[in-house]
Symmetry: C2
Subunit: 165 residues, 2 copies
């Protein structure tokens, strides 16, 4: 089966898909709280499109996957951003493709380290949460409101992750 | 100097001030992602009041405090909620008072464990981020937009934390 390479997650490489939330690489630093806190400001925006919509905060507790796991479909949320804030202390995998009609040749894989979180822009194709190593909690910030905000599409060419183990 | 007791952070005790974001105590559980993920759904709402406002995601990297640290003021954000998502893997202290005119006799202290995050409702008085033990990163979800969204008030009776060391 075809293996998907995982590249290191960087803001530049991820820009077509959304934002990387990572204090170690952010330049948007303000000093607040009597000099005791560095605010890495507005690293991502919570986008909630359509009347009556708002942002909500949930926790996703995900079982891990391994190299045998088969990626069979992608999903997108046309009406809202979706942030995955990594509270697990562990790395995880990200599989994305540009918004618009799904082009399987454009699928990209990234390996995020423990200190990295991401925000998908509305409409960006992504595989669901791919924890590695052990069950992992992510705090998710996404849209709640009327309308159908989840499209799923089966892959013509299923994939497996190249985890390099 | 007067010492503020820190009670364990629970959803019930924190209800006057906002929401506790904690998968271990949440009952709002949906199974998603082909059965591989438990979604603890809508544990808190992102509230952004006023025209032209939205939600933003930042990282606060906070220096820790100890028992010698003096709490001299409180702040509130009348136009928006503010969530502190604990990505540090360490406990932290929370100091809050009900919305409305600040009543120092109503100040409460809580000790949050590593798996707990919180969302302050608009207008709830709170001390700025009180990391303990070591420099700690929190992902913050709050309001961005026009208008003055931060009031500060000095305490007539400064406080120190009773950390029980």
């Amino acid at each position: 089966m075809q293996r998907l390479q995982l590249d290191p997650l960087t803001a530049d490489a991820f820009r077509p898909f959304g934002d990387v939330i990572d204090a170690d690489t952010s330049c948007e630093r303000l000093t607040i709280n009597d000099g005791r806190t560095a605010r890495h400001h507005a690293l991502a925006m919570v986008e909630c499109l359509g009347a009556g919509a708002g942002g909500t905060i949930s926790i996703f507790r995900a079982d891990p996957v391994d190299e045998a796991f088969v990626l069979r479909k992608m999903e997108r949320h046309p009406l809202g951003s979706q942030a995955f804030i990594n509270t697990s202390g562990h790395p995880y995998a990200i599989v994305v493709a540009p918004a618009g009609a799904l082009d399987e040749t454009e699928i990209r894989g990234f390996l995020a380290h423990a200190g990295q979180s991401v925000n998908y822009r509305p409409g960006v194709w992504h595989h669901y949460l791919l924890a590695l190593e052990q069950p992992s909690d992510f705090v998710v910030v996404d849209r709640i409101g009327p309308g159908d905000n989840c499209d799923e599409q089966l892959l013509e060419t299923p994939l497996q992750l190249a985890l390099g183990s």
